[in-house]
Symmetry: C2
Amino acid sequence: FEQRMFDASKLPAVTLDGAAVILRANIEKVDEVKLVRENSASGVGLFRTEFLYLSDNRVPSEEEQYAAYKAVAEAFPDEPVVIRTLDLGGDKPMTGNPDLFPEESNPFLGFRAIRFCLEHKEIFKDQLRAILRASAHGKVQLMYPMISGSEELARANAVLEECRAELKKDGVAFDAKMAVGAMIEIPSAAVTADILAKECDFFSIGTNDLIQYLLAIDRVNDRIAHLYEPTHPAVLRTIKQIVDEAHRQKIKVSVCGEMAGDPVYVPLLLGLGVDELSMTPPLLPAVKYLVRAMKMSEAKKLAKDALELTSPKEIYALADKFCRERVKSE
Amino acid sequence: FEQRMFDASKLPAVTLDGAAVILRANIEKVDEVKLVRENSASGVGLFRTEFLYLSDNRVPSEEEQYAAYKAVAEAFPDEPVVIRTLDLGGDKPMTGNPDLFPEESNPFLGFRAIRFCLEHKEIFKDQLRAILRASAHGKVQLMYPMISGSEELARANAVLEECRAELKKDGVAFDAKMAVGAMIEIPSAAVTADILAKECDFFSIGTNDLIQYLLAIDRVNDRIAHLYEPTHPAVLRTIKQIVDEAHRQKIKVSVCGEMAGDPVYVPLLLGLGVDELSMTPPLLPAVKYLVRAMKMSEAKKLAKDALELTSPKEIYALADKFCRERVKSE
Ligand SMILES: [Mg+2]
Ligand SMILES: [Mg+2]
């Protein structure tokens, strides 16, 4: 099986009935670029930028960030590199900086990600300028984490516009058409996806956080981990709604949470209409193998059937069966 | 104005165009029964039961609980008394019982309420039996907090059924037709309200937690409190959806969060179709005064207009204006 996966990994990610599926990589360090190539990803769907802040527990300069973003952008001249702005806080505080990240009673519901950036505008602007400058060297896209609604998105975009104006004034090169998207991982963003879709170039669904908030379950908490169910009907319905509203506005939807790299959920996500999947590089071969062993028409049927069910366990069983039959069938 | 409110408080809660609105009280101790009467509530919409567990930091016996529930049930022979099962955990741990409530990284997303009860079945059963026995003495209704989906509701109802069978076998009296409802305060419950409505006798929307989870905002966290917006369009849409699904199954919807006692939000909630409002007793006169100064047709128009808007601040301004005009008009 490993050999079959390896063989598949160099071939295109196309279903048996001819639907091309875009598979990208999640990375959190510049040197993972090699892994992305080895696993034949179509670029980077999620470049986490926290490592720059966490490795030395200090805020990196614009230049340091520019060098890192540029290196990844140049590594994939023909494929998108989606850079996510700072997603610190939550389970990733900067421990050495209690002034920036004080202790919180519920860090997952706290002062994190875009909330932090909008209150620390200079830190945010350094990052946005670095990303804009890197966009001159490749197909860079930018996305904001933890967007809760259109006003927050507008505030972030206003800061970005300031940065664009500054760079322009200084004659610094950047891609004026760089795509800007939002992570949809807070229920309020999902519920207002129709509004946000008009203001975004793409969506990326962060299923880990989205499920966590939809179900009010801290997934790291052992006592209730059994209640964290990606196949809860509320999760499927919410993903479908996000996809439908995005497509209505003609923008694409990627999934970059763990669901995207799990063969059990991949057909379900594709059947719900998700356009792109982004995952940690070692998971790419298995997912590509499965994509090449299934039909998109069957995935659509699977999603339709799953949406009729009310029990997370029954939906899981259906998805699991679908996956097993495809992987065994050769 | 205080005098006018006082005068209104003894009159029926009926709008200018003749719609009767049900206003009930939230209480957390037996001796608040007096306050409920003084403020002319139509019974108790939320009887919190945590005081029994927190006053001495120990699990109360079935008998102690029965005495408390019976006292409140008997105080309102003609009006419902809605008893909520244990909602400990979150910001209300039993500090003296680390075995029952260990420290958690994100208590609001943790082992609380119905999650705790389903894992501590004997504690849960003592409470359910006490509530069932109290139901023989008045119009008791029972509701479960923090229901995330239909499987959790089914598990809770199975335990309740066990208790009914035991009492029946022992010849102990209870109301076999006691209404059983669910709090809708977790987004996944809202998204699957159509499924839950088939298994419940009523819904009660806990807006405090619902907003908190929808927006991923710990409302107690000062740094982000400005993002906790009851007029976020996602909140309005979610309430509307819950109400619509409930009414489709011919069950009633109450709101027992802080929104229900705030005159700014009351017309919005009623306009969205909410059937009952339950609030801390001292807020009842002002809400009743407003109900008697507005038309339901205007509230419906307000809700319709609000649903067209995308900005929380604009929606707030609209609701605030509506309220001010009605309160000033005499
Ligand atoms: Mg996230
Ligand atoms: Mg609650």
